[in-house]
C-alpha cells in the first residue's frame, strides 16, 4: 500500500502533475474532455443496456446496436480513461486516499469485468440470440449490472470533491 502511496506522491510532484494542478485552464479543459468522453461512452452504454433490458429500440436486433455503436463507445471510453488519467496525475497524492475515489475505481474495474464477460460470453454470438423477442436472462442481467455499475461510478465520482481532505 505504501508503495502505491509513494507512487502517487511521485506523480503528484512530477512536472506534468504540478502543471495540470496549477494551470488555470488545463485542469478544467481536461475535466471537459472527461465529461464529453463520458457522454459518448457511458451515454451510449446506457442506451445499449436499455436495449438489452428491452426498454429501448426493441424492434432493432441487438447486433445492430452493438456493432454500430462499438467504435463510438470504445472511442469515448478511451477519451474518458486518458483524461481521467491526467486528472489523477494532478491529484494523485490526495485523491488516492479519498474514499469516493477508491469506490469509483473499484466499480470501474467491476464495470469493465462485466463488459468483457459479456463480450466474450455473449457479444461474439450476438447474431444467434440477438433477434429473439425475449432475450436470454443472463443477457438482461448483464445489461442491468452494467447500468448499475456505471451509475455507481458516476455517483461516486461526483462525491470525490465532497469527501476530499483538502476541498478542490
Amino acid at each position: 500500500m505504501s508503495l502505491l502511496l509513494d507512487f502517487a506522491q511521485v506523480l503528484y510532484d512530477s512536472p506534468i502533475g504540478t502543471d495540470i494542478r496549477e494551470s488555470q485552464f488545463l485542469y478544467p479543459l481536461i475535466e471537459a474532455a472527461h465529461l464529453l468522453g463520458l457522454a459518448v461512452s457511458s451515454g451510449l452504454i446506457v442506451l445499449t443496456d436499455l436495449r438489452l433490458l428491452g426498454l429501448f429500440m426493441k424492434d432493432v436486433p441487438v447486433a445492430d446496436i452493438l456493432h454500430q455503436l462499438r467504435y463510438w463507445v470504445i472511442g469515448g471510453f478511451i477519451s474518458t480513461f486518458v483524461s481521467g488519467g491526467f486528472l489523477f496525475w494532478a491529484e494523485a497524492a490526495t485523491i488516492i486516499e479519498n474514499p469516493a475515489f477508491i469506490v469509483k475505481i473499484l466499480f470501474v474495474v467491476l464495470g469493465c469485468a462485466n463488459a468483457l464477460w459479456f463480450e466474450f460470453k455473449w457479444g461474439r454470438s450476438v447474431t444467434q440470440w440477438g433477434e429473439q423477442k425475449a432475450l436470454p436472462t443472463a443477457v438482461k442481467y448483464a445489461g442491468l449490472a452494467s447500468l448499475t455499475l456505471w451509475t455507481i461510478v458516476i455517483i461516486s465520482s461526483r462525491f470525490i470533491p465532497y469527501l476530499s481532505q483538502n476541498q478542490i
Binding site: P28, E31, L35, A39, G43, L44, L47, M57, Q68, F159
Partner: protein
C-alpha cells in the same frame, strides 16, 4: 421589487433554505442528478447528430431514432432542469451574479429552443433541406456541450 429582492426572496424561501442549510452530501446528490441528466441528454443529441452524418445507428431510420430517443432526452432534460433549479434556488444571489452562469443560461435557452423547434417537429417530418438540418443538429450538439462546460466553469470563476 428589484431583481435582487426576488433572488433574495428565492434563496430565503423554504426550499432555498433547505438546499443551503442541508448537509453538503445533499448538494452532491443534487449534482449527481444534474450530471446524469446531462449525460442522457447529450447522448441522445449525439446519436441523432451522428445519424444525420451517416454514422452510429445508420441502419436505423432517423424517424425511428428520434422516436426512441425523445423520451430519454426529456427525461435527461427533466433531471438537469429540476436539479438545476434546486441548486439555483439555494444560492440565487451568487449564481445570478456569476458570468459563467449568465452565459450558461443564455446558451441553455437557445439550445432548448432549437431542441423544441427542430428535434420534435422538423426532424421527424424532414421538410427542411438535409444540409440545413445537419448543420442545425451539429450546432445543437455543440451548444449543449458548451452549456455543460459553462456550467463547470461556474465553480472556477
Amino acid at each position: 421589487m428589484t431583481t435582487f429582492d426576488v433572488l433574495q426572496w428565492l434563496q430565503d424561501s423554504t426550499i432555498g433554505l433547505f438546499v443551503r442549510k442541508s448537509d453538503h452530501l445533499v448538494g452532491a446528490a443534487i449534482q449527481v442528478f444534474h450530471i446524469i441528466g446531462l449525460i442522457l441528454l447529450l447522448t441522445v443529441v449525439l446519436l441523432v447528430t451522428l445519424r444525420l452524418f451517416g454514422q452510429g445507428l445508420r441502419r436505423q431510420s432517423l424517424r425511428d431514432i428520434t422516436q426512441a430517443t425523445t423520451p430519454i432526452f426529456w427525461l435527461g432534460y427533466g433531471f438537469t432542469v429540476s436539479s438545476g433549479i434546486l441548486m439555483f434556488v439555494g444560492n440565487a444571489v451568487i449564481y445570478a451574479a456569476n458570468p459563467a452562469f449568465q452565459y450558461k443560461m443564455a446558451l441553455f435557452l437557445v439550445a432548448s429552443l432549437i431542441q423544441l423547434l427542430l428535434f420534435t417537429k422538423v426532424l421527424s417530418t424532414e421538410i427542411l433541406p438535409h444540409g440545413f438540418i445537419k448543420s442545425a443538429a451539429f450546432l445543437s450538439f455543440t451548444l449543449w456541450v458548451v452549456v455543460g462546460l459553462a456550467g463547470r466553469a461556474i465553480g472556477f470563476i
